[in-house]
Structures are given as C-alpha cells and as structure tokens.
Amino acid sequence: MERILAIRGLKTYYRAKNRIVPAVDGVDLDLEKGEMLGIVGESGCGKSTVARSVIGLIDRSYTEIAGGTAVFDGMDLLHLPPKEMNRIRGARISMIFQNPLTSLNPVYTIENQITEILSVHTDMNKEEKHRRCIELMKMVGIPAPESRLKDYPHQLSGGMQQRVLIAIALACNPDIIIADEPTTALDVTIQAQILQLIRSINREHGMSMILITHNMGIVAQMCGRIMVMYGGVCVEEGTTMEIFTSPLHPYTEGLLRAIPSIADDKEELFSIPGTVPRFTYPVSSCRFAGRCPYSERGCTESEPPLIEMENGRKVRCFRYMEKEAAL
C-alpha cells in the first residue's frame, strides 16, 4: 500500500475569549492510496476541523494550527503558502460539503460553477470546458446534462445539487476527495444514491477518500478503516470489521449501541448520556470520563495515551490498558 497523506500530531485550536479550545488536539492519520477512510464521532468532536485544517479552510481570525504536519506528495500542507495551497485545493485534494444548497453560489449557473474549477487549474478553452462539464455531469448521473447547464442551484433538487458538487470535486481528477457529511442534508432515499456514487468514484477512479460522518451505518457500508474521534482526539482506530465486532473504547461501544435495530424489541432507543463537553486547553483527564459508564477515579486524573497494537489497531483507554496488563 502506498501512503498518500500522513497527518502527524495535528493540533488546531480555537481562540475564544480568555481560553483556548483544542478542537483537534494531536491527531495522527494515514490515508492509503485508493482507500476509503471513515472518521466518525458526534458533532463537535473535531472531525470536520481535521479535514478543514488539512485543506486550509479554517478561519485564521480565530483558529490556529498549533502543531503537527500533514504530508502530501512531499509537501507539508499545514505550512504551505496560500498561493501553493490554492494550486492543490480542487486540483489534487478536493472536498464535498454537507449542505449542497448553501454550498453552491445562488447567482451563478451550474455550468459556471463547474467550469470555474477548470478555469482555475487547467488552460482548457471555452469549448473544452463546456465538453468536460457535460462529461462530468453525466459521470455523476445528472440526467440530460445539456438542459441543466444554464440552471441555477435553486432550480435543482437536493440530490442533484449534491451531484453537481461531486462533479466539481471530481473535475480535475484529484488524488484525494474529502467528503464532509455528504448525505446528512439529504432524504434517505437520495442518501443511498449519493453514497453509491461516492463508492463508485472511489472504486472506478481509484481516488483516495476520507468520509466524515456521524452515522455508523454509513461507515459500515462504505469504509475499510475507521477512526473514531472524541473531544478532538482519536479514541479508537481499526478496520471496519474490528470496530464493529469488537469495539475497545466505551465511546465506540456507545456509538454502536446507539444504532437502532429492527430486531431489537426494546422500546427505548439507546443514547450516550450527556453531550460533548467544551474542553479548555490543557486537558488533563480522559475526555470521555464524564459520560463513560465505566469511569473510575484514575480516569479523571490524567489523559490515557493512544496505544497502538501490532496490527495497527489503536485505542485510548485506561480500562483497556488495565485489561492488557492483567493478561
């Protein structure tokens, strides 16, 4: 396997009044060529921030990259000058966003918005861009693309809008596509179609993908490997099979139990009690301790390290460490 992106010790901090919020607090992540990696976690756990830090879409007025590297093709993306970053964004790493309607500019036509990325990164002439635009629209399954070119975003359905965004992401044949909750804003029936499309892009074009979602069902279907994030750190990482059959972290366990099942005849749905708390730098306890059913005194006294096993599986939990020590 060829490694295409290597993130080491990524720290992205938000400066709020009088305090620093460690949105991402030391994340390591490797993306292999052609794989589809899932990042899961609740809202506010830092998964989008990881993606946005890598692609340089953070608002520098209140966010800073406090440390780490993200090496892609010999370049550290976290410390690239803006001009060079612009050459990578869209051309070599592109992104699909959560809300398709608000992610398209309301005053420009579909054609304009798709060809814009071609104008930025290629020297195609008008005719070539037009042809490529239609080709891309066909590729992402927009019926009768010629008749849609002059449409404005509000004239398309949510699913079609998301297909347009995917077409934009695909336009320059990037090496990596980051999809940030690509189906969250869509109807369930449309979700399946869009996921299918994303998977076929991953398989047919061999593009490496990072799929960010809070939906365990989606990662189970789509991804080979999963990173579970909580409170700005990775709490568990492993293959989809490992994560689903033998979760090691209580948070992963909770996420899996929260998936509603038809076979389950219990009336009440399971949910992890509480919400993601706001952490302030520096953090000196297990971040999940406040909501963990197995929490003990030691859990609040220091932060557990991320243990990496021989097969590459990772977990960050004192309870697991104790179990291992007892064996």
């Binding site: 964004r89 869209g90 592109s94 966003f97 992610s103 309301p106 990325i117 930025v120 509000h154 934009i168």
Partner: protein, 306 residues
C-alpha cells in the same frame, strides 16, 4: 418578464397621477398668486383680470382637467413670473442638476461600496470602527447643514472655493460633497452589513475548496451576492438625491431645477411647481423601476418568482 414590466409601469403611472393630484390641490390651497405678481396697490379689477388671464377664475375641476390634459399635450403652460413656457425653463436648467446629481451619485456609490467592503473584510479593525463612525455621522448630518458648514470653512475661512453658482470644476466640489455624503454613508453601512452576512456563507468555502484565489472569492462570489440588497438602497438613495438637490441647490445657488422649483413655490408660480414636482416624481419612479428590474437581473431566485 414583459408582463412584470407592464405591471410595474402601470403602477408607476398610478403613483405619478396621485402625486400630480396632490400637488395640484396643494398649490391651489397655498394662496393667491396675484399677491406676488401684481404690486401691492393693485385694484381688485386688475386682480380679477389677472386671474382671468391666468385661467385661475375657471372652476377648480376644470383647472384640474387642464393640468391632467397637459400631461398628454406636453404644454404645461407659462410661468407666471418668467412669462415663458415652464418646459423651456426646466429644459435650460436640467443639465446643471443632472450633472451635479450624477457626479454625486457616482461618488457616493463608488466610495460607499469600497469603504463598506474594506470595513467588512477587516472587521473590528481600526478602519472598520472608523468607517462605522463616519457613516453614522454622515447619514445623520442633514445635507444643508453640511453645505453651510462647507461654505463657511472653504469659502469664508480658507477662501479656496467659490460659494455658489456653476462655474468650473472647483464650483462642483462643495455641492457634490454636500449631496454625496449621506447616501455614501448609507451605502457603506449597508455594504458592510450585507457583506459580513455573505462572508459566512458556505459557498465561499466551496469556492476556496476549488482553489479560487481569495480576492476572486471576495469579488466574484461574495461581493456579487452582497450587492443585491445594496442596489435597492442605492436606488432609493437616488430618490433622496433628487429631493436633496432641491435643498443643496438653494444653499449653493446652483442654477438647476431645484432652485427654480423653490423660487416657484415661494412666488406661488403654480405651473412651475406642478411641472417641477412632476419631473422629479417621474425621475424617481423611473429610477425605482430600473432598480427593481436590475434586482431581478442580479438575483436569479427573484427572476423565477416575478
């Protein structure tokens, strides 16, 4: 689109008709014009004869009919004081007003949009705070007060600029400033607010994700959207600009239609007043209609609903 245009124009015609009616009755309520035209010691017979020659002895409804008719014939009568057709008088003075108005408007729009944009991009900076302060001051200071202050400073104290009249480029400086400051302040404030709102939108991030350079993101994606509401305000400012010209022209003895109208009102010169108000209301209505149409050109979402 055509249907929409016809509807707009019909509405505009109705508006102008109402304004005309209102002005007609207001002028007739303002008193007897012969007080001004004839010397104080004129006899009652002379006054009656004068009223007859001006057509003021006809029944009110007939006079009203004549005024309405004049809309279609184009003959709006003669000024009581200048004894010349009012259309001729206005035609002579129109140029000065249009020149002053256009220059002021162009300045207000260009500077207002620029200030608002820079303030929004550099939010909370010193420049931003300074712009907010300036725009509050600018929009609250009445143009005639500003005009008088300018005359005092540049004319009496510094002796740099002529106090009035249209005579060369220098004579434009003060009237243009007096006219432009208020609309400029409003445009700056609105551009800032609107752009701040747009700067939070997701589609800017998707443009950045395409690799579009930041200045293109700002101008092509952000400003294009932010200016949609600003255009409406600019259009409304055009109306105030025309109204403001009446006052500013008086302060600076500008030889335009504003000062003609004011003098007409003072002398109960009915045809001058009616024709002047007509001109201004037609101009404002036409400009508002143009703004309305441009609005739907700028925003495709409105185009579909129109």
């Amino acid at each position: 689109m055509l249907k929409y245009l016809v509807k707009r124009l019909l509405k505009a015609a109705v508006t102008i008709f109402f304004i005309l009616t209102l002005v007609f009755f207001f002028t007739r309520l303002s008193g007897d014009p012969t007080d001004w035209i004839l010397p104080d010691d004129a006899t009652e017979e002379q006054r009656i004869e004068m009223r007859h020659s001006l057509g003021l002895d006809k029944p009110l409804i007939e006079q009203y009919g004549d005024v309405l008719l004049s809309l279609f014939t184009g003959d709006a009568g003669r000024s009581y004081n200048y004894l010349r057709p009012v259309s001729e008088l206005y035609a002579e003075r129109m140029g000065a007003t249009v020149r002053l108005g256009l220059i002021s408007f162009a300045l207000a729009a260009a500077v207002g949009v620029t200030l608002g944009t820079v303030a929004a991009v550099k939010r909370n900076s010193f420049f931003d705070r300074f712009t907010i302060m300036l725009s509050v001051a600018g929009s609250t200071l009445p143009n005639f007060v500003l005009g008088i202050l300018l005359v005092f400073l540049f004319c009496f104290v510094l002796r740099l600029l002529p106090s009035g009249g249209e005579d060369g480029a220098l004579s434009y400086i003060m009237p243009v400033i007096a006219m432009a400051v208020a609309p400029m302040a409003n445009i700056a404030r609105l551009t800032r607010t609107s752009l701040l709102d747009v700067l939070r939108q997701d589609y800017l991030d998707s443009a950045r994700a395409k690799g579009v350079p930041e200045h293109t993101v700002l101008i092509k994606h952000a400003l294009r959207n932010a200016l949609i509401p600003v255009i409406t305000v600019i259009g409304l400012q055009l109306g105030t600009l025309v109204g403001g010209s009446v006052v500013v022209e008086t302060v600076f003895s500008w030889p335009g239609i504003g000062s003609l109208l004011i003098n007409g009102a003072k002398m109960r010169d009915y045809p001058i007043v009616i024709y002047g108000v007509m001109l201004i209301s037609v101009a404002v209505t036409v400009m508002n209609t143009i703004v309305d149409l441009s609005y739907s050109l700028l925003d495709p979402r409105i185009r579909d609903n129109a």
